[in-house]
Each structure stands twice: as structure tokens, then as C-alpha cells.
């Protein structure tokens, strides 16, 4: 844990060192990559919010006693887990307009990423909710707590710590998947690197810097997840 923190610090220091050492070299393409990074961050935050919301809605919907809700959640999960993200992004951007729904590139990217990863997250949430001991539900039934309140106040708070590791892994996957948004004409880190490569032809430097930026992002989420996990499980007894 502390080692990884040190590794990240070292990487950032290395990046800065590289900037200083070869300032005239990096100056030509780094600004474009950093502009791309802001697009990546913006898309990541918006689609992460949608992804977490959809995970809980579909994951809990799949356990709903009302059959149509259960079926709808299952169909959503199977369709979005079964198709490729790139195809979904393309479909949202190029096919939906002919159904009368015109999306901006940002909307298409956020919807595609959020819905696609929401389907994977729904399985994580479903697993976490079923991991809550059934005695908890029986006890709240015995205490005459309504079903929705039992779900909201009893089951979900206990499911969240179980779901956090899975969801934080998926969030890393999602940030990596934002590299695809250039398919819908957004200029993110990846697309900016391709453009800069065509202009300056400094292939190795440009793509290495892009890889390092992505690596820093995913390590950041990994820490965030680990800290959140420690924070939400600190009241639990540690085994051994």
C-alpha cells in the first residue's frame, strides 16, 4: 500500500523530471495530451456516476419480487454485458439519430460507458446483496419493517462494503475504457496522442506519456477504493 503510493509519487516525479529535462521536446505535445486528459476526466466522472447508479438500480431490480422488474433488469444486464462497448458507442452515436434521438458526442460516450459498465456492476451489487445474511431480512420482517425500508436501511448499508472492491475494479476498467470515446469524435488522451503522433512523429514519447497518465489514473482509483474499503469495514471484526 505505502509502496504503491511511493511508486506513484516516483512516477509523477519522473514525469516532472522528464518535463524539466527535455522541456523543449515535451512542450510540443504535452499541452495537447493534458487537454485530452481533462476530457477523459470529465467523461470518467459523469459516466462513473451513471455506472454506479445503474449498478444499484439493476442489481437490486434483479432481486425484486415483481417479475416484470426482474425481467427488465435481466434483459438490460444481458444485452449490455453481451455486446462490445465499441459497438454500443457506435450504435448510440450513429444509429440512434435515425430513431429520432440525437445525442451529442459527450452524451453518447457517457450513456454508452455508464450503461455498459452498469450492467457489469449490477452483478457485483447483486452478489453483495445476496451475501447479506437472510436472518437480517427475517429479523426486520419480525420487527414489522416494510420491505423497501429493510432494503434501504438494513440490507444496502451491509452490502456496500462487500461491493466496494468489485466496483472499484470496474471503475478502473471504465477509466481505461474511456480510451474508446474517440469513436464518437471526442478528443481524449488517446485521440490526442494519435493526432500529436501524426503531427510530430515522436511516437515513443507521446504514447509512453499517454500510458503513464492512464496508469496514474488507475492507481489513484485503486487507492481511493482501498481507502473507502478500509473506512467502510473498520467497524467489522477482523478475522485472525
Amino acid at each position: 500500500m505505502t509502496f504503491r503510493l511511493a511508486a506513484i509519487a516516483a512516477l509523477i516525479a519522473f514525469l516532472f523530471g522528464l518535463t524539466v529535462a527535455t522541456f523543449s521536446e515535451l512542450r510540443v505535445f504535452l499541452p495537447a495530451l493534458l487537454r485530452g486528459a481533462t476530457v477523459t476526466i470529465e467523461i470518467s466522472i459523469m459516466s462513473a456516476l451513471l455506472f454506479w447508479a445503474m449498478s444499484f438500480i439493476a442489481g437490486i431490480g434483479r432481486l425484486n419480487p415483481i417479475a416484470p422488474i426482474r425481467w427488465a433488469s435481466t434483459v438490460y444486464i444481458e444485452v449490455f454485458r453481451g455486446t462490445s462497448l465499441l459497438v454500443i458507442l457506435f450504435w448510440f452515436f450513429f444509429v440512434l439519430p435515425s430513431f429520432g434521438v440525437v445525442l451529442t458526442p459527450t452524451q453518447a460516450a457517457v450513456l454508452g460507458l455508464g450503461l455498459n459498465f452498469g450492467a457489469y456492476g449490477a452483478e457485483v451489487v447483486r452478489g453483495a446483496v445476496t451475501a447479506v445474511p437472510s436472518g437480517q431480512k427475517e429479523a426486520s420482517a419480525a420487527l414489522n419493517i416494510p420491505d423497501w425500508k429493510c432494503m434501504l436501511r438494513i440490507v444496502i448499508p451491509q452490502a456496500i462494503p462487500v461491493a466496494i472492491p468489485g466496483l472499484s475494479n470496474l471503475t478502473i476498467e471504465m477509466i481505461k475504457a474511456t480510451a474508446l470515446v474517440s469513436a464518437v469524435t471526442l478528443v481524449d488522451i488517446t485521440f490526442a496522442s494519435v493526432q500529436q503522433n501524426q503531427i510530430h512523429y515522436r511516437t515513443l514519447d507521446i504514447f509512453l506519456v499517454a500510458l503513464i497518465i492512464y496508469y496514474c489514473f488507475s492507481q489513484l482509483i485503486r487507492f481511493g477504493g482501498a481507502i473507502l474499503e478500509a473506512r467502510t469495514t473498520r467497524h467489522l471484526a477482523r478475522g485472525q
Partner: protein
């Protein structure tokens, strides 16, 4: 409202996507095969008793896992020619997918091996079994049940990663539908059929993976 032409679907889209589907399946199978071997090598390096090697291997795995596959594809696609290695885009793409998934399958193998209780190793030593027989008869059969379903899921994941190859002009299914879209300026049919193709193939292969999982459980453990 809906702009869908069946004659266009059957005359243009389906034949061309059918051809491209072959490349998609080929890329999937070949990169999965390489990822299986690559993962084994990375896992062995990571489990190495020599600390520097295992440290470097685990950091390499971490870096590969922490960066997007698309950027790795671009990296190989643009950097390899500059160092004098010129390969067809399909080969480069398969290489990138195989390397990326090696890092993932390495973790699968490691988890499978560590799921075998220590007592099994100790018992094999106590019974004076040779290393070959220890692995062949004791360790591998017991580590397969957790490994097989996870590897199957990676096969499906690789299948859904192959559309990324369309970024470097490999003629797989997504590239074919992009081309149809730009030639006729009709994206609806091609992209929708491509989506349905992936959905059907994933559902079928998920069923196959479940069958393989059950087979392994039944034939090895009981």
C-alpha cells in the same frame, strides 16, 4: 421514423459482415491461445523465488493491467515500425491483445494455484512423489476448477475486445460495418447487425463456458 432497409441488410451487410466475422473469430482464438501461454510465463516469473525477477514481473503485470488496451494497440502499431519491425496490422493487434490478456490470465493461474491447500504440497513431499507427478496428479487437477471458468470469461472478454482492432484498420466485423457505413452512408443496419452478432456469440459462448465448468467439476473432482 425508423430507417431500416431489409434488401440492403441481406444484399450488402450480411455477406460482408459474414466475411469479417471470420477475422474476428480468428483474432479471438489466436490471441486467447497466446494469452494462455503468456499468462503462464508471467505467472512463473512472478512466483519466482529470485526477488528482483518476481518484483519486475509483478510491476509489469500491474502496468499492463493499469493502462487501456487501445493505447497499447496504438503503441505497438506505431512504435514497432520505428524500431524496424514491420508486421501486418492483424498480427500487431493480436500481439497487443495477447500481451494485455497475459497479464490478466497470469493472475487467474496464480489464484488457482494458491487455492490448493498447503497440506497437499506437504503430503506430496511426505509421500516422496516426483515434482512431475506432484504437479500432474495432485496440484493441477485441484487448481483447474477455479481456473477454467475464469479463463472462459477471458475468452469472451477477448472476443468483445476485438472491435478495438478496427482502430488500426484490421478488417474485423466492426471495421467492416464502419466501412459499409461510410461507403453507403447507412450505419443503421451494419452497426445493429454487428451488435446482435456480438450479443448472440457472447450468450452462446457463456453457455459453453458454463458447460465446460460443469464438465471440469464432474470429471476431475468426483
Amino acid at each position: 421514423m425508423m430507417d431500416w432497409r431489409w434488401d440492403f441488410t441481406f444484399d450488402v451487410v450480411l455477406p460482408r459482415l459474414w466475411e469479417a466475422a471470420g477475422i474476428t473469430v480468428y483474432a479471438t482464438v489466436v490471441s486467447f491461445a497466446f494469452a494462455l501461454v503468456g499468462g503462464l510465463i508471467l505467472m512463473l516469473l512472478k512466483m519466482s523465488a529470485f526477488k528482483p525477477i518476481s518484483f519486475v514481473a509483478s510491476e509489469v503485470i500491474e502496468f499492463i493491467r493499469g493502462t487501456p488496451l487501445l493505447v497499447q494497440i496504438f503503441f505497438l502499431f506505431f512504435v514497432l515500425p520505428q524500431v524496424g519491425i514491420t508486421l501486418p496490422p492483424l498480427t500487431t493487434g493480436i500481439m497487443a491483445i495477447a500481451i494485455y490478456n497475459s497479464a490478466l490470465t497470469a493472475e487467474v493461474y496464480r489464484a488457482g494455484l494458491q487455492a490448493v491447500p498447503r497440506g497437499q504440497w506437504e503430503a506430496a513431499v511426505a509421500l516422496n512423489l516426483s515434482p512431475y507427478r506432484t504437479f500432474r496428479k495432485i496440484i493441477i487437477p485441484q487448481s483447474l476448477p477455479p481456473i477454467v471458468p475464469a479463463l472462459g470469461n477471458y475468452l469472451i472478454a477477448i472476443f468483445k475486445e476485438t472491435p478495438l482492432l478496427s482502430f488500426v484498420a484490421v478488417g474485423e466485423i466492426m471495421h467492416a460495418s464502419k466501412l459499409i457505413g461510410s461507403e453507403y452512408y447507412r450505419f443503421n443496419e451494419a452497426v445493429t447487425i454487428a451488435g446482435i452478432f456480438f450479443l448472440v456469440m457472447s450468450l452462446v459462448s457463456a453457455a459453453l463456458v458454463r458447460a465446460a465448468e460443469n464438465y471440469v467439476k464432474r470429471s476431475i473432482l468426483h
